[in-house]
Subunit: 221 residues, 2 copies
């Protein structure tokens, strides 16, 4: 079972590594980290680099497609190598998945038209640009397309997918080996329950960063 | 604030990337991925590679030390470059932390003697070899030393640490931006609640893998 995880500069590392940690433990998993071109890809906090061993063109027909997000999504959406690959890979995939703003890349490739989907809560309305119906659920399944909410939700998405692929017992064993028994010290992981001041401050900071990325994408286009 | 995250071959990727995703968002964070020597480090499922841009020797006095785990820990514990660095870095660190079997590396460096600590549940008793007192808690603080349980617990540990370093409001904002509002599809993340059959099967598989790694370490010593 070939699993392709797209990586790119300014990716959010946990978007990719959360699902990787789960899906790579599936029996027979053959995980490929792919980029528009091979090479090291910097993450959106600029400190960690992940290696894409292959180009997307080298992995044309993965069984499972995982599209992470991050501020670099804007540049990827403007890259025909990536968009054409997503379309072709989705045509033959068993599962097409995204984490965080990775769903906006699926949208840009035309893969979410008419589907319920999710993304990072700060970008939820952007899904409508692609004909998708935004939902506030953490993991959203629409046929073979599974989209997940922001960053850490990729772990929940991947466990859900692991159960679909290999059964509940295998998914439970994976959850156990990664000791995924979350105990966050605060109840601040959702905009519905976080303090309004925390939400507002974050919103301002993230939007400024995303606007800068969009400007770079426009300049590169 | 300099944050050094040790990486090495056969690391568990999420052990490093969970804390990275949280700590790199702290104001003034300067995260360095370091290895016994610089270069690409393979993860313990053999598919993803992370880049160590610097050698441990280049980052002698980080403010925060993060030691992830994985089957590669056995080889690291036999490497004097790593052990000597851990001792010297701990002498001047503000916080010394570990995720999963990273605590066994802290133990091998003599940093856990007499302290309450935790690790992956399958390796809990190994902490006693280093004079530590194993506990079943997910995040264990003993003075400036914080150890976390298996793999995904590094996210909880890092949010706890973020609050200590930058205050609750900043930690809550980080939890929100990574949408850490966990909704695992099963309640199988702890050996106390997972089905006994799932625990037993996992235990056998992981022990076989760890024995192989220990044999390789012995051969290399």
């Amino acid at each position: 079972m070939q699993i392709a995880i797209l990586i790119f500069d300014e990716i959010t590392a946990l978007d990719a590594v959360g699902p990787y940690e789960v899906l790579s433990r599936l029996p027979g998993a053959d995980v490929r980290f792919v980029g528009a071109e091979p090479g090291l890809k910097g993450t959106d906090n600029g400190m960690l680099r992940l290696m894409a061993d292959e180009a997307v063109a080298d992995v044309p027909h993965p069984d499972v497609l995982v599209v992470p997000g991050g501020v670099g999504v804007a540049l990827q959406a403007a890259d025909p190598r990536v968009i054409d690959w997503l379309r072709a890979a989705h045509a033959t995939s068993t599962w097409t998945t995204s984490v965080c703003t990775g769903s906006l890349l699926l949208g840009a490739a035309g893969l979410l038209d008419g589907l319920r989907a999710t993304t990072h809560f700060l970008r939820m309305e952007a899904l409508r640009d692609f004909g998708a119906e935004p939902t506030g659920e953490r993991v959203v399944r629409a046929g073979k397309v599974i989209t997940a909410a922001g960053v850490s939700s990729g772990i929940d998405m991947a466990l859900t997918l692991a159960a679909e692929i290999a059964g509940d017992q295998t998914a439970k064993a994976i959850q156990l080996v990664i000791e995924y028994d979350p105990q966050p010290p605060f109840d601040s992981g959702s905009p519905d329950r976080a303090e309004p001041g925390v939400v507002a401050k974050l919103e301002a900071a993230v939007r400024a960063r995303e606007q800068a990325a969009a400007a770079r994408a426009a300049a590169a286009a």
